[in-house]
């Protein structure tokens, strides 16, 4: 009896010890560096924003953030990799429209569900679609553009950095909403498209402030309108589409932090806290402002419902850019 009792006690202690260590693991989170997966190549807009945040989220968590770029498949390769990792909070993903709204619709075989395969730690923030024209262009306002596109026989051609991005969806929405004749000229990335705009090959381009900023500052390129709900700090004189009467053209290009599905609540909580702390850091806000990115802190719950709503509403619009045959 003594032996059995001892065994039972030992078993109990063992079990509770195991329970404590797993609880401890969550309580101690993070006890080692956290890997942040960025789904685009280093140097691009996604990478820049991700690294800026990583610099601030790290200290807020008390562990360094190691950035790992897993580019490919229009953002889906990195997201698919992240979805397969251990849900312990040590691998986190920077999600965006490309990996969560567009990729999974274009390629049904990506191997993850944008909502169910992840837990959603929080939004980082958003940037907006910016309509720019060559500085020498005769178009002074969005109205000029729409009028010309409605009346002229050939319509207006605009440059686009990709055939499947947030900006592509925006372009289709713009054509539909205005009922005018706009036709895309697709480029292989933002850099060649902007070169073409600055060189005058195209007169109009659908871009983002982060891309167009140097050319706006040098005076080669002129911003016409922006897709934010209210004017942004970096471009106080540029009207929003909503101001101009096109409410439907409000569009945000958001970035958020996700973890593989099944991550403990405590870990999500800690991550969310760190994201929010980073997003309110004045130095970071100032740097982000320079590239037209606005931090938008949320709770995990708000982010999750926001994401689910986005995935549902975007599906039809993304189906429209899917290649035929």
């Amino acid at each position: 009896m003594g032996f059995l009792k001892a065994l039972a006690v030992a078993g109990f202690i063992g079990l509770s010890a195991a329970a404590t260590t797993s609880a401890m693991a969550q309580e101690n989170y993070p006890s080692q560096p956290v890997t942040l997966i960025i789904t685009f190549a280093p140097g691009g807009g996604n990478d820049v924003v991700g690294r800026m945040f990583a610099d601030k989220i790290g200290p807020a968590l008390g562990q360094p953030i190691v950035v790992e770029n897993r580019a490919g498949g229009g953002g889906t390769t990195g997201a698919a990799h992240a979805a397969k990792q251990k849900p312990d909070g040590y691998t986190i993903l920077m999600a965006n429209g490309a990996s969560h709204l567009i990729g999974p619709v274009l390629f049904p075989d990506v191997g993850y569900d944008p909502v169910k395969s992840f837990d959603h730690a929080g939004l980082l923030g958003e940037q907006y679609v910016l309509l720019v024209v060559n500085a020498k262009s005769k178009y002074q306002s969005f109205k000029d553009l729409v009028d010309e596109a409605r009346t002229s026989e050939r319509g207006i051609k605009y440059g686009l950095a990709s055939a499947a991005s947030i900006n592509t969806v925006f372009a289709n929405r713009m054509t539909k909403t205005t009922g005018a004749r706009f036709a895309p000229v697709i480029y292989n990335g933002g850099a060649p498209a902007l070169t073409a705009l600055a060189g005058g090959e195209i007169e109009v381009m659908i871009s983002a402030y982060s891309e167009a900023a140097p050319h706006i500052q040098s005076g080669a390129v002129r911003p016409i309108a922006i897709s934010s709900t209210k004017r942004i700090g970096a471009l106080p004189d540029v009207p929003t589409f909503a101001e101009l009467g096109y409410e439907a053209l409000n569009m945000r290009n958001w970035y958020g932090i996700e973890t593989p599905a099944g991550t403990p609540k405590e870990v999500i909580g800690k991550l969310n806290e760190a994201i929010r702390k980073a997003g309110s850091d004045p130095e970071l806000i100032q740097k982000l402002n320079q590239i037209g990115f606005v931090p938008t802190p949320t709770t995990p719950e708000d982010y999750a419902s926001f994401l689910a709503e986005q995935v549902a509403t975007w599906r039809t619009e993304v189906e429209a850019i899917k290649p035929g045959k």
């Binding site: 190549a41 280093p42 140097g43 691009g44 990478d47 820049v48 690294r51 800026m52 610099d55 190691v66 950035v67 790992e68 770029n69 897993r70 580019a71 490919g72 498949g73 229009g74 390769t77 274009l106 390629f107 075989d109 990506v110 050939r154 051609k157 055939a163 499947a164 036709a183 000229v185 697709i186 480029y187 292989n188 850099a191 060649p192 902007l194 070169t195 073409a196 600055a198 060189g199 005058g200 090959e201 195209i202 982060s210 900023a213 140097p214 050319h215 500052q217 040098s218 080669a220 100032q286 740097k287 320079q290 590239i291 850019i321 899917k322 290649p323 035929g324 045959k325």
Partner: protein
């Protein structure tokens, strides 16, 4: 006058001790990385990104640039010694460089690469300081029709590089184009030639492709033929080039610099393409074109000068417009942005020290590279004494790590294996791999710009001929084709005459 003052400010900045250390570290690291096949400059700079963003902006920029041109030079070292190009742009260097090494002239070949790179680097740094603005206008005046015409001319011109049957070379160019088209169509996001494999949607990475097609497949061939090609060719005559060698380097280096400086400004693979073009032009102007590909020192100097010049002028669009033209400059732009500096024309005005310090550092970096590498030639040549059988596992492992590190994706490693087997088969059946690489690089660019030209002109083909630059280039292409047809005909007539005489 102002330029002189700016250059002085730049030199003072670049010669500050921490910037000198950064420049030296970058050049040394770049050289070492370049030697590891497959681990390219872009991958290295990407891996070092976290370090770069904590350094002061000018120091970070100088170090990253040092890695870039250090890697250009390092990549040619393995191309010459073991026929494994470290970068896409040194694939051409291997043609004559490796043959020189086989003849025991590895030392002069390496020295020729170092000296021609130095000549190109020095001149290009001056060109950037003096002519950045006009060169920018050249880049801006290039629309889709001009790109199409340039690439087409390049394809026709360079297709003649390789020896052997013209028919087979043409078939290999087409094969390269087909491989280059693998991936996602830029205009419609349709998956092309992916055969249901998701990993092929992003196409094949150019560095991985070049390493596999030249470096790894060369190893496979050597293994298949019982190492006859690799062994018994290692006697070394002399380490440094003779006076006659030096004389033969000068003009090809200058021509290569000119070609590289012009082509580097154009975004997308400028440095790689310029090494092809410089080689082709050198072969054309040479009185002994048949010697190219047999270990001709001019065939090392010209492409090396061109790729170094191209690497440096590829910074121009970044500096003057804020537009990164290739993966490396995109990384540098990103590093600047993370530091809160938006790259672009205002940088020269608001932060002249950063701007001119960076330009001056290019020259300083090239001096460092020359000082570093000429004495090292002795050591690199000594590497040849290591038995080939010992080297092979190293090369294979480095190439695997390099392919993996491009995207942190094992799919690239599998693609490398597949392409190296294709390379083995191509050589086994008496065809040349160089036209494949040419088609691979140029094919997709030609298609993209042709289609964009037609979108812009609403389907009117005349746009390719009516614009002054593209019209001239198209005319040049047509003339070249006619010339080639005439030469082929004349050769055939001569051949027939020979046969008739024989009878």
């Amino acid at each position: 006058m102002e330029t002189l003052q700016n250059l002085e400010l730049g030199l003072l900045t670049a010669l500050q001790w921490h910037n000198l250390v950064a420049c030296f570290t970058g050049a040394l690291l770049g050289t070492i990385i370049g030697i590891l096949p497959g681990v390219g400059a872009a991958a290295t700079i990407a891996l070092l990104m976290p370090t770069a963003v904590v350094l002061p902006a000018d120091t970070a920029l100088i170090m990253m640039a040092g890695i870039f041109y250090g890697a250009q030079y390092g990549g040619s070292i393995t191309a010459i010694l073991v026929n494994v190009p470290g970068e896409g742009s040194s694939a051409i260097t291997a043609l004559d460089g490796y043959n020189m090494a086989k003849q025991g002239r590895a030392g002069p070949a390496l020295a020729a690469a170092a000296i021609s790179s130095f000549i190109a680097g020095t001149l290009t740094a001056l060109i950037i300081a003096l002519f950045a603005a006009p060169l920018t206008r050249v880049a801006l005046s290039f629309g889709a029709p001009e790109y199409f015409a340039t690439m087409l001319l390049g394809l026709i011109f360079c297709a003649s590089i390789s020896g052997g049957s013209m028919l087979n070379a043409l078939a290999m160019v087409l094969f390269g184009i087909m491989l280059g088209l693998i991936g996602t169509d830029v205009f419609t996001v349709a998956s092309r030639f992916t055969f249901g494999i998701p990993a092929l949607r992003d196409g094949i990475d150019i560095v991985t492709f070049a390493i596999a097609l030249f470096g790894i497949s060369d190893i496979l061939i050597n293994l298949a033929t019982g190492l006859q090609g690799a062994a018994g060719s290692r006697a070394i005559d002399r380490v440094f080039p003779s006076r006659a060698d030096l004389g033969r380097i000068i003009m090809p280096s200058l021509r290569g610099t000119g070609i590289g400086a012009l082509m580097g400004v154009l975004p997308g693979g400028g440095a790689t393409l310029s090494s092809f073009a410089a080689y082709a032009i050198e072969k054309r102007v040479s009185r002994t074109p048949e010697k190219f590909g047999t270990g001709h020192i001019e065939g090392v100097a010209a492409p090396e000068a061109a790729n170094n010049a191209g690497a440096q002028t590829s910074f121009i669009p970044l500096l003057t417009l804020g537009i990164p033209g290739n993966a490396v400059t995109a990384l540098m732009a990103g590093a600047l942005m993370i530091q809160g500096i938006v790259p672009g024309p205002q940088v020269a005005i608001n932060q002249p020290q950063l701007f001119w310090g960076f330009i001056a550092s290019m020259w300083v970096g090239n001096v460092i590279l020359l000082v570093l590498n000429l004495p090292l030639v002795r050591i690199w040549v000594a590497l040849l004494r290591i038995p080939y059988a010992t080297l092979v596992p190293w090369i294979i492992v480095f190439a695997c790590v390099g392919a993996y590190s491009v995207n942190n994706n094992t799919a690239d490693v599998y693609m490398m294996a597949a392409i190296s087997v294709i390379g083995l088969l191509v050589v086994r059946f008496g065809c040349q791999p160089v036209p494949i690489l040419l088609g691979f690089i140029l094919g997709p660019l030609i298609e993209e710009n042709l289609r964009r030209s037609l979108v812009l002109s609403d389907g009117d083909f005349s746009v390719l001929f009516t614009r002054p630059i593209s019209g001239t280039l198209m005319a040049a292409s047509i003339l070249l084709l006619l010339l080639m047809a005439y030469l082929t005909r004349r050769k055939m007539v001569g051949f027939r005459k020979l046969v008739e005489d024989d009878v």
